[in-house]
């Protein structure tokens, strides 16, 4: 990285496809922000679902695909964030938007507390350990009578309608308050999604991100060159809990009804998310985006078949893991070499090869 002028070597991450994609992404995000102007309300709700699932998927991908922490207990943070938001709004009378932020912090605090337990377990045992923690949090919150105990409760109707932002949107677009609330939650989901992807992209391009990839590829080698694997894993675990908690709170602002079984559902908040990431391509930023599209198309086309949907999703997940472990995006990227989010460091130039030549490993 140092003294590129003397040796002629430079480290670059930019690729032509990525520059093209950056333009495309800016246009896409602008269009997405304008979407409430020209799409139907039901489509807006579908987009909300896609965006929130994408946030959860990107977070699980950072945890499992980059930090090697395979958790099947992320529903703990979805549910805890949702309950924290309900407590702030129903019991504390706070604005739901503020409550979402507090919910994220509450989930981060929970992750610090539970981290002491689950970080004592390695690999597969970490996975089931996180699941136990999620069960404990669910059982404890089911005792909270003020929030409906085991049967759950609803947000007060006025809570979302009286939000300042909702009233402003209702006036600006001249729509009813319930529709304005949908628009607001959609915008918040879009914001959270862009911020999450932006944050992970930024993280992977920093020194810490390089250390993270090194730990994933070979923990012993990474530690021998001075990467503090434990600290990096802790930091990722807490950051992911923060964002997952906010996503959970946002999802339940939109749902407006909560119960322990739904908020801590391993199927809804972990199984779907794992399948999205695995099918799309684990350990890439593009994979979850592809995966969430596949997930949504399958859901729409198999909606009438009940449990067949999950059966098919499970079988596809197993097949992908066995025969194409880098997912759909991996298949595409391996053949074309295209990356939309360039996190691979490519060595260019140098005295021994001409200036067109590139060198760099597939994961570097």
């Amino acid at each position: 990285m140092s003294a590129p002028s003397s040796s002629g070597w430079t480290v670059e991450t930019r690729t032509r496809a990525a520059t093209g994609f950056a333009f495309f992404a800016v246009v896409l995000i602008a269009l997405a922000f304008a979407a409430p102007l020209f799409v139907s309300r039901s489509l807006l709700q579908d987009l909300f679902l896609i965006l929130t699932m994408l946030v959860l998927a990107q977070n699980w991908n950072l945890l499992a695909g980059y930090a090697g922490l395979v958790s099947v207990g992320q529903q703990a943070f979805v549910g805890f964030g949702a309950y924290a938001m309900f407590a702030c709004v129903s019991l504390g009378g706070l604005d739901p938007m503020l409550a979402i932020l507090i919910a994220g912090m509450a989930a981060a605090l929970l992750s610090v507390a539970t981290g002491f337990f689950v970080f004592r377990l390695q690999g597969a045992y970490f996975a089931i350990g996180t699941w136990v923690v999620a069960e404990v949090v669910r059982l404890v919150l089911a005792q909270w009578r003020a929030l409906g105990g085991g049967t759950g409760t609803s947000l007060p109707n006025a809570a979302t309608r009286d939000m300042a932002a909702v009233q402003w949107i209702a006036e600006a677009f001249s729509v009813r308050a319930s529709q304005a609330a949908d628009i607001l939650t959609y915008w918040l989901a879009l914001l959270l999604c862009c911020a999450t992807i932006g944050f992970i992209y930024w993280l992977l391009r920093t020194r810490q991100g390089l250390g993270l990839s090194a730990v994933r590829d070979n923990q012993e080698a990474a530690r021998s060159v001075g990467v503090d694997a434990r600290r990096i894993k802790w930091a990722v675990y807490v950051c992911v809990a923060f964002v997952t908690g906010m996503a959970g709170a946002l999802i339940y602002v939109q749902k407006a009804r909560i119960s322990p079984d739904a908020a801590f559902s391993v199927i809804d908040w972990t199984a779907y998310v794992i399948f999205i990431v695995v099918i799309g391509g684990i350990g890439t930023l593009e994979g979850p985006i592809i995966g969430v599209i596949v997930f949504f198309v399958l859901q729409k086309s198999l909606a009438d078949f009940g449990s067949w949907y999950l059966l098919v999703l499970g079988l596809i997940g197993i097949a992908v893991m066995l025969f194409a472990p880098r997912g759909l995006w991996g298949l595409f990227s391996d053949r074309t070499g295209i990356q939309f989010f360039p996190v691979r460091r490519i060595l260019k130039g140098g005295p021994s090869i001409d200036h067109q030549g590139t060198r760099g490993g597939p994961h570097g």
């Binding site: 499992a64 090697g68 395979v70 099947v72 002491f116 337990f117 004592r120 377990l121 390695q122 690999g123 597969a124 045992y125 996975a127 089931i128 350990g129 699941w131 136990v132 069960e135 404990v136 059982l139 404890v140 089911a142 005792q143 391993v266 199927i267 199984a271 794992i274 399948f275 695995v278 684990i282 009940g306 449990s307 067949w308 999950l310 059966l311 999703l313 499970g314 079988l315 997940g317 197993i318 893991m321 066995l322 472990p325």
Partner: protein, 287 residues
Amino acid sequence: MIWVDTIVQGVLLGGLYALFAAGLSLVFGVMRLVNLAHGDLIVLGAFLILVIVSALGLNPFLAALVAMPVMFCLGWGLQYVVLNRTLGDDILPPLLVTFGLSIVIQNALLEGFSADSRRISVGGLEAASVSLGPIAVGVMPLLTFLSAVAVIVALNALFYRTALGRAFRATSDDPVTAGLMGVDPKRLFATATGIAMIVVTIAALYLGTRSNIDPTIGPARLIYAFEAVIIGGLGSFWGTLAGGVIIGVAQTMGAAINPEWQILAGHVAFLLVLLLRPRGLFPRAND
């Protein structure tokens, strides 16, 4: 006196959890594989016994004997065709494939048997009890516990007294060298999973006769089994029994204080052990 009764009931319940855990412990001991579908395979076994009972009109204990070879073959094939492909240094493939399997089994059972809860009837045996001194204990819980002890004794004998057990231990320690000595790890792993499925069938018999079953209860059984294995310490079958007993006693004591705390008390006991003795109470393996 009531506390003695509670503890005895808890110990007997622990036998059931030890049965759940023994198969998991066996598979982990031989090939370091954690099967997230273990609980769903127990539920699958219970439904298989239920089908045999209603189709052939057999006594559930005989039906379990019929189910055993079926489950052995299922486990053998599952390991040989699917799970062997996932073994390696990377922890992701086995975890994600068995997690997918868990979802597939649950939803296949939902499709085949609906979400209704069912029960395997054992004649009048569910209500029968015997008195042990001043305490009356149910015949089924007692049978469960005795079966758990028998399974642990049998697994220990298999591991430390037979040629197959020697091959298991050798492959567990060093698969490459074991391969040089003529052991085929793929077939050996398949045999281990097959034997684990026989234990799963025994667990399924008692699960289905003692409580209601429906297709979604598998993951909770996996969690109890996992807690028992971790509390006992990896690689020790007697430790697994002790772990099951600790979970069982914690659950019945929790339930005695407040019925809603039963499950929670078991999890809290597990977390306490994890905090104080992270390698379990009777550790043997080093990983």
